[in-house]
Amino acid sequence: MGKIVQCELCPNGCVLDVNQTSRCRTRINKDGKLYSIVYGKPCAVHVDPIEKKPFFHFLPGTKAFSIATAGCVLSCKFCQNWQISQAKPQETDTYDLPPDKVISYTKTYNCKSIAYTYTEPTAFYEYMFDTAVKAKENNIKNTMHSCGYINEKPLRKLCKYMDAADIDLKAFTEDFYDKICNGSLKPVLNSLVVLKEEKIWLEITNLVIPTLNDDMKKINEMCRWIVKNLGADVPLHFSRFFPHYKLTNLPPTPVETLTNARKTAIDAGLKFVYIGNVRTEAENTYCPSCKKILIERTGYQIIKNNISNGKCRFCNAAMPGVWS
């Protein structure tokens, strides 16, 4: 055995010679051992409404202590946080925030949960994992917004401490993942199934990009896959694209496209379909039984919450989610 190592965290499976850094830029081979170089060094630290992640069925109206380090396992051409996700850790300003301090700040700011978000939490797996363990000990919930591009073994280990996950299902074709994200779709679908099996509260986000993934046939196929493999109760967020990073040549997604996507998803059987990044009535939660507004939102703010003890206040139908 020499000093070459292979990272087994994500499907990239980087094989690294001494002093080489992984594709996610956060792991390095030092003398035949693999190290994380971002542990306890977040470059983004904020207190956000949980709705911003977005989680619409998980502790609505609460605050999430949100952290991210530099780095990502994918390199999406449309990334909205590319300044940190595609940066090397050395290129970012960081805070000294080991897991204990994250817990302490979470309590200080009266947050019910910690969100591993903004960039790709898989790229700071060890930091997320250790923080999540401590959070659990302190009765704080753990959530992540991830692309789901992670191997099954580390994901299942993480699931013991994770309470909720919002997964970006970026498109429903291998071609899109290959050409636009430099990744592949299959591992993401596997992660979604694993999260469901592990009983983690799951929501899905799909950024609809004009001409690249806005074909209603594929959206229909994606929604039917979700219903069949994850269930009709999984909330789906269609998010409006704005030109960013390497896709500044495309226009923002027309609202009509998002409305069509939502209709397609509802027709496919999904019960909770939202539109994000634009103000419409599709940011409210409606009761699938009596059709009344259960949670009225404007942006990330809750105007009215008609869910009581996990049930619709009007017709008493049980609502899927984590409400307290």
Partner: protein
């Protein structure tokens, strides 16, 4: 510019660049934490 002024400017520039180099070096001083989920592979 006199010889004295030139020397002063040179010394100032030199100290500035040295300082900048030091601060970059500090930024690159990685804090290492052993990773999970990896394995050694055979050479070649």
């Amino acid at each position: 510019m006199t010889r004295r002024e030139f020397l002063k400017a040179f010394v100032f520039l030199w100290s500035f660049l040295s300082l900048k180099e030091d601060s970059n070096a500090e930024g690159k001083n990685e804090q290492l934490h052993e990773a999970m989920f990896w394995r050694r592979v055979e050479d070649g």
